[in-house]
């Protein structure tokens, strides 16, 4: 039984990283009052750009570590640009955020697939960034394999939880972001440029989403396909509600979903289940829906002006 528990924890922790990065980015978006349903499309673009640079340099063979890092950074930059593009649509032109987000999702997914076919083609992979074994600690029983033999980006993802928490709750910029999402008119009367702050939040959040996609293509699957992201962008948006717009809550949501996913895989692998595998595959998604129902009753409310455009010339 211990083997079983260790197995599903060992598999579950890396699984959470992509969701965690994307959800943290979406948390910042939503804290500023912008609801970005296009997270999935941004992740797809990040996944493509992230693997494009190492592939161009070294094909499927190994490349220097900084080439992979350059791929991740390029993905983040492209993600930020997508965030700004989305900002132009929803902040400058005041388009409905839900519909614009769906448009961004379709645009990002389609563009990434088309660029991939044009520049790379086929099911090509990259050597990518492999897991590292931290000396001494990785040899510890049970936790060594679980916590100290992971991909470097897993540590980056977990490190981003306190970083985003600090940015949102301990810095002047974080205060401005939260003010723009809660009471933008008051923020505006205090001299805060609401549009500029929302652009900045979108750029940051989308860069995180793209980094999540790049994690999948460069560090995890080490390949790009049109279906690589596979709905994780939408799950990331749901996890922000689950986590009540708090980085720590989002961490809990990402871990719960990923551990449920790892659990269903382990249950299948060990043949423990009396249920058909289709039910097990559904388990993590059903769990998220059920938990969201209960979390929805929480007194902790989200940004009051989430999804609402701000126009300083209008009275509302």
């Amino acid at each position: 039984m211990l083997d079983f528990i260790v197995l599903f924890l060992t598999v579950g922790i890396p699984l959470s990283s992509a969701l965690l990065l994307a959800s943290l980015g979406e948390t910042v978006n939503q804290r500023s009052g912008v609801f970005n349903l296009g997270c999935e499309g941004v992740m797809c673009m990040g996944a493509f750009v992230g693997m494009f640079i190492p592939f161009m340099v070294g094909g499927s063979g190994p490349v220097a570590w900084y080439v992979n890092v350059a791929g991740l950074l390029a993905a983040a930059v492209v993600g930020a640009l997508f965030g700004l593009l989305f900002g132009v649509v929803v902040i400058k032109f005041g388009a409905p955020q839900g519909i614009a987000g769906i448009g961004l999702q379709l645009f990002g997914t389609g563009l990434a697939g088309s660029l991939y076919r044009h520049f790379i083609g086929g099911a090509q992979g990259v050597a990518g960034i492999n897991s590292i074994r931290i000396p001494i600690l990785s040899d510890l029983p049970i936790v060594g394999k679980m916590l100290f033999s992971c991909n470097p980006m897993v540590y980056v993802a977990f490190l981003m939880v306190p970083v985003v928490h600090y940015i949102l709750f301990k810095t002047p910029w974080g205060l401005r972001v939260r003010a723009c999402g809660t009471f933008p008119r008051a923020a505006d009367s205090m001299g805060i440029d609401v549009s500029k702050t929302r652009y900045q939040a979108l750029a940051f959040g989308s860069a995180m989403a793209a980094l999540a996609g790049a994690y999948l293509s460069v560090c995890y699957a080490k390949i790009f396909t049109d279906t690589l992201v596979g709905g994780r962008g939408f799950i990331a948006v749901a996890l922000v509600y689950f986590g009540r717009w708090s980085p720590v809550g989002v961490l809990g949501g990402a871990m719960l979903f990923s551990l449920a996913q790892a659990l269903q895989l382990a249950v299948q692998a060990y043949g423990f289940s009396a249920f058909p595998y289709e039910f097990l595959v559904m388990l993590p998604y059903v769990l998220v829906v059920v938990v969201l129902v209960f979390v929805g009753k929480s007194k902790h409310v989200g940004p009051a002006m989430l999804g609402k455009p701000f126009n300083r010339e209008m009275r509302t």
Binding site: V11, P14, A123, A221, I223, T227, Q261, Q268, A269
Partner: protein, 324 residues
Amino acid sequence: MKKFIALLICALMLVIACTAVAEATSIAIVYPDTVDDKGWCQSMHMGVEKAISMGYDIEYTPVESVATADAPNTLDQLAENYDIILCHGAMFNTACQEIAPEYPDQIWAAGTTDQLFGENVFTYMPMSEEPGYINGIIAGMMTKANKVGIVGSTDGADSARYVRGFVMGLNESNPDAEYMLSWTGSFSDTVGAGDIGNTFIQAGCDVLVGPAQQAVGALRNVAATEGVLWVGQTTAQLIDFPEVTVAAADYDYSAVIVGLIDRIAEGKTGNECIPLNYNNNGFVYTFSENAELLPEDVKNAAQAAWDKLVATANTLDYKTIELK
């Protein structure tokens, strides 16, 4: 003079008729993914190209990445312009059954299924238990931990046959070996296949297999882990990961294309299932050339199983296998 003109007209009609007969057969193939996916779609694409290289006069149009929901509209449009419309993937079966009766002059083909869909529809079914069986024999002989992992896609159609054939081969070559089996519930969930591969590796499996194009996700984990081997389902896996892939089975869909055109030439229009097996060269099998990776005794055992399947069709009763 009149007789001469009549003769001339008859001759002209004959020439036109002959020209019409000599026209290439136009085939449109609807794919769920791209033709360079190193898996399901690429196998069919290569099969058509092989049939053309064998001298079959085919005008071929691939229609890639068609979503299941878009299939009825796509088929409707193709029916107007092609002699044969082939739907390559079980996700298109319903659309094909729905649209084909509306175009009785066109020949339709749908796979994979062994059901019959109507007078103008051929179906085709890879008997995937055969390559699965050979891979099972290899996996059973190669595993040192007596633990083998099967990265499943969905428990249906040829994927289900492959997995059961694999278990048959595994039980036969190494009754002490255990297998772990997980399904992603999809054919294209590369990340999910990677998750399963990682789960198996962490659980101590030292030989992994997986049907469907998504399996490359698991194969990448195998390639990154020392001491774990992969028994492949497409030759592309053997080419791309030669250091871990010991052998690979592959579909040769030219058997379906050739079978389809030959049957039409015989005057048949459908209502028949074209099988794909070793007996009709519907599968090929390739061994790793690395002798250190694939010992001679394992290769000989696999070769013997292969020869047996080539000699006679339908020898494996995969339905007797109850999965865990």
